[in-house]
Symmetry: D2
Subunit: 184 residues, 4 copies
């Protein structure tokens, strides 16, 4: 596959999440399925030394850390606990706290990617029509190439997810093949 | 004093710091003096419910948290330990990790200040001609009013510190009266 | 209507345009219809002293001016000439040249809106699923309220336009009533 | 000289200027001297196909163009007319309108430099302790290397100019040799 000249980073968006919000129950089963695929993909990419970046909501607060959010989701009996346990970040993983939908808005993400010499982003996580899409849009305007594996993003409904994938394929020229077909 | 219509925030810049860098020894005694004044000022401002924001270098990394930096400086026998112990952040304090000299560059600081409805920044910390000055410049361009108490910033030499204060007074119209004359 | 406490600005996106690009022919008739409605809306808003901001592509160049683009479209026999003539900017109108889809990306638009004390944007122009949508997304993250009159935006097909309007209504909470129902 | 692996751009800051402001008279003679050197340097760099970027204040307006500013300064009997005539931009030159001191703040300058594949900026213009310094600071944080020829910047007094040059040499590691020693 023609991915060989790129420098990649895997972005895992809003998966470390208690899912304790109004539409969390609808989203959760889809997120769990995506989470399983992301976990497999993450291991494959780690073996190739591709950096993993957790991009997470700071919930309008600047008083708590990402590590606290991880503890909250892993140790408390929240809806998102199984996902958080499954894809718990490692010491060498990066994280970005975002105050808004897009991982690029008012964060050092672009700077981090420049330092890592990344030109192609592999976007995964939730939700396909909100934080993933907004991050993808901003990435496209900053001229990153996009891989958004169709089995690694989730939204509240299958239709919304599919529509968002089609939009990202068409408008942002994203490669949306499932993760099983990538990095073989 | 004519400060009554403003909404303030206290920024404490790079004081949670191990000072284990080449010029740390020169800077440390001045930083310690400034730290004592900042601590007194911080208590005065806390009593008025003015938010405290720690603005700290992330040392080019996005893999560790501010709370880890605090632990490192408070618990390890580093040069900066006494200062870190003296001005250890509280639970309700905010923090911003900055990848560069200015607290505004590639961070959510401006967004946080907007949410807190702040229009006047009280800048303190180290060093007067680097991170404090760069943060002050960026604050000025974003139309924040500036209070930079002369006894609450430190640089490697008294001359450099004084020159920087005069620049911030002249170019940025900063109020540079010592903290003892403020918020009485 | 409950719009009375807001400060508005009308954004006219990419309508001063020669339409001499590959899909310009498909887009043109829809743009012309939208242009007629935008022109009527513009007069209504001007009578209320609401600022008009032309947001236009700089086509990757930083060597020519907006006024040159206006001349090019008004004076040359280009496909977009009738629209450019119909909605030619006035002296007191503002303009922003954008290097990317979003009017906010790498431009002073946010700063201009802050100076004008605007909290609600009326978005119009082309295309509904590209520059209008990207600008709307960025506006939403900056906490502007959005009015996107359904008869004042255009895309290459009616379906794409409708889908984009529904997305902006749902995700960005935009008011998408037609312009004829607004500012009566 | 070890400049050969870099891609340069010459920035000419605020020289297209009517100088009709309170301290314009003090600044003007220094600016005229600097302008002569910048003009010579500009020709030398143009011969090497190095891009020239005029960075100019938009005076808080987004209603007039750079070309109008050029006309205003070249055709009206303003104090800055001789400088504007001497260093009038050519068709192929770039320009950036800045709403604040720094050429990077709320402008597409960084994007333009990325497109031009520039890694080293040659900063010239006025004033040494305001727009030149603020632009230099922002350039340094974005990791551009800096050449700031001492004879090509001007401030209201020689002392202020020298102090600013020394600061940029020390803090920003700028090469401040006079233009006569560069690009031989």
């Amino acid at each position: 596959m023609p991915l060989s000249d790129s420098r990649y980073a895997l972005l895992v968006i809003d998966m470390i999440n208690d899912f304790e919000f109004s539409t969390g129950k609808e989203l959760y089963p889809f997120a769990l399925e995506a989470g399983k695929q992301i976990s497999i993909l993450k291991e494959k990419l780690k073996a190739k030394n591709i950096p993993i970046i957790y991009v997470n909501d700071n919930y309008g607060k600047w008083q708590s850390d990402f590590r606290h959010l991880v503890s909250h989701c892993v140790e408390q009996p929240v809806l998102g606990q199984p996902i958080a346990k499954m894809m718990c970040p490692n010491k060498e993983d990066y994280f970005i706290l975002k105050p808004q939908f897009s991982g690029f808005f008012a964060t050092p993400l672009d700077l981090l990617l420049t330092h890592l010499k990344v030109d192609t982003l592999i976007l995964t996580g939730v939700t396909g029509n909100m934080c993933v899409l907004f991050t993808a849009n901003d990435a496209y305007m900053r001229e990153y190439k996009l891989i958004i594996p169709s089995d690694c993003i989730a939204s509240e409904t299958v239709d919304i997810n599919d529509q968002s994938l089609q939009t990202m394929k068409k408008v942002l020229k994203a490669d949306i093949r499932p993760s099983t077909e990538l990095f073989k």
